[in-house]
Amino acid sequence: MIQKVLKGSAGVAAVGIVIGLVIAAISAGSYHLAGTPQFCAACHSMASVHAGWQQSEHKQFACIECHLPDSNLVHQVAYKAAVGMRDLYHETLRSYPDAIKLTDGGREIVNGNCLRCHFSTVEKTDMASGGANCIQCHRNLVHGPALTKGGVKVE
């Protein structure tokens, strides 16, 4: 009797663990996939920024290395889910703007990621004291008209 119960619960536990592992693997895999530039570029609205990035001096970095907050995983997942839903909404309705721009929050995140690598360059200047807007001047480093010449093609 006791053996049977043990056997039963072990079975349930085993099945539970397997299901849990599968869900975890799928989630991790999806999260990883959703972090690739190819995934970002799958949306039509991202075509030109993706094309610019491919020609830029930062093409070795994925989109999320600049556009996800430089903090813990929980914050990153929550942020990605929130902006992901917003992007999906506008992509579905095709209501994204003519010129895609960063939001104020998005700009803060990008600037933080600039400093993640380049802090030592500016640490002895006012720019290191926070609130500096790196991309006001370095606007065309990764995305910009100079990198995506050619415009609308007629074929």
Partner: protein, 425 residues
Amino acid sequence: MSKRLLIITGLMVIALAFVIVAARVFFFQPPSVVKLTKIPDGEYDPAVWGKHYPLEYQSYLKNREMAPSPTGFGGSVKVQKSVAEPALLENFKGMAFSKDYAEDRGHPYAVEDLMETKRVTPKTVGSCMTCKSANLIDIFKERGWGYGKTPLPELFPLLKHPITCANCHEPATMKLRVINPAFIEAMANRGIDIKKATREEMRSYVCGQCHVEYYFQPETQKVTFPWQNGLNPEEMYAYYAGQPFGFAQDWVHPDSQAKMLKAQHPEFETWSGGVHGKAGVSCADCHMPFMREKGQKYSSHWLTSPLKNIGPSCQTCHDQSEQWLLERVKTTQNHVWQLQKLAGEWVAKAHAVIGKAGAAPKIDAAELDKSRELVRKAQWFWDIVAAENSMGVHNPDQVLNTLGRSIDLAHQAIETANRAAGTNF
């Protein structure tokens, strides 16, 4: 049972939403290229082109809008410029621009406005239609520069369409092209082969084929650009000083008796030396920004102030807010407008003083001629700014310099005239 139905319905709604989102986002994306349709050669009606390029055509039709510009300078409302700047009437005394000098309207009105302006008389030459109509293509093909001497009213029946798609596009490929032979020749004289131009260069050349300073060679009435020495006001003035092809003046001012030049809309020249021009930002980058309609990207063909569309026109490069950018342009334009008005008024005064000095009993004729040359140059430096459509924004520092020179030259002209006649006007 009903609970089960509810769950099934709910699941189906979720599945349907999922399918729709997936379809819209991943499988049925808006086209990323414009589908090419060949338009027959000689088709100049924009409505025909528009059937195949509807987004571009819809935006082209907005050129019919008549509205003031967001800064209050320029705009497409037909109003006499002399209302805001009365000195125009003095400075263009004795020539057609004192009779009618209205703010220009959009490309679709080019032929209509040419036929209506009081500047045109039965003797006006055919050259004047060069930049007004796509029909130039056939007229030039059949007659060469011969059309230049044909009286303009005789050509009116041939002008079926104003400035349309064909002025800038090859009908079979939609590639950019230039049809004004004067531009092709002027660029060739500067060692630039238009045929080798890049797409980005063409995005300025198509505008530059008309938005330039020019004159007519007296013998042939051939349209010619004064670019041999360079494109800034000083260099163009020096070119005219050499009396090219016997061209000495546009008219003689009745008060000062000075041999005058009339400047024409030098947007291309002004832009080319400015910060945007030097940085390789084309006319179309700001004036024909990329827009989207249901996700499909297209170039706006509404040729108007970029400030009507600050997002796509300016903010693809400039990170500042719309309000900030608009204020910057307004600030520049207000500075330019103040000096432009001042320069125009001092030039008008110089004409009057030279006129009065000329009537004095004892005159140093050579000195009085010097004052006439000075007022000619002063007016050129004022007019090359006043006739330009941007109130200085295409090249703020150069424009302010030019106006400063104009004011100085006008003062010199007055001083010299008084010295010549021993007067103190």
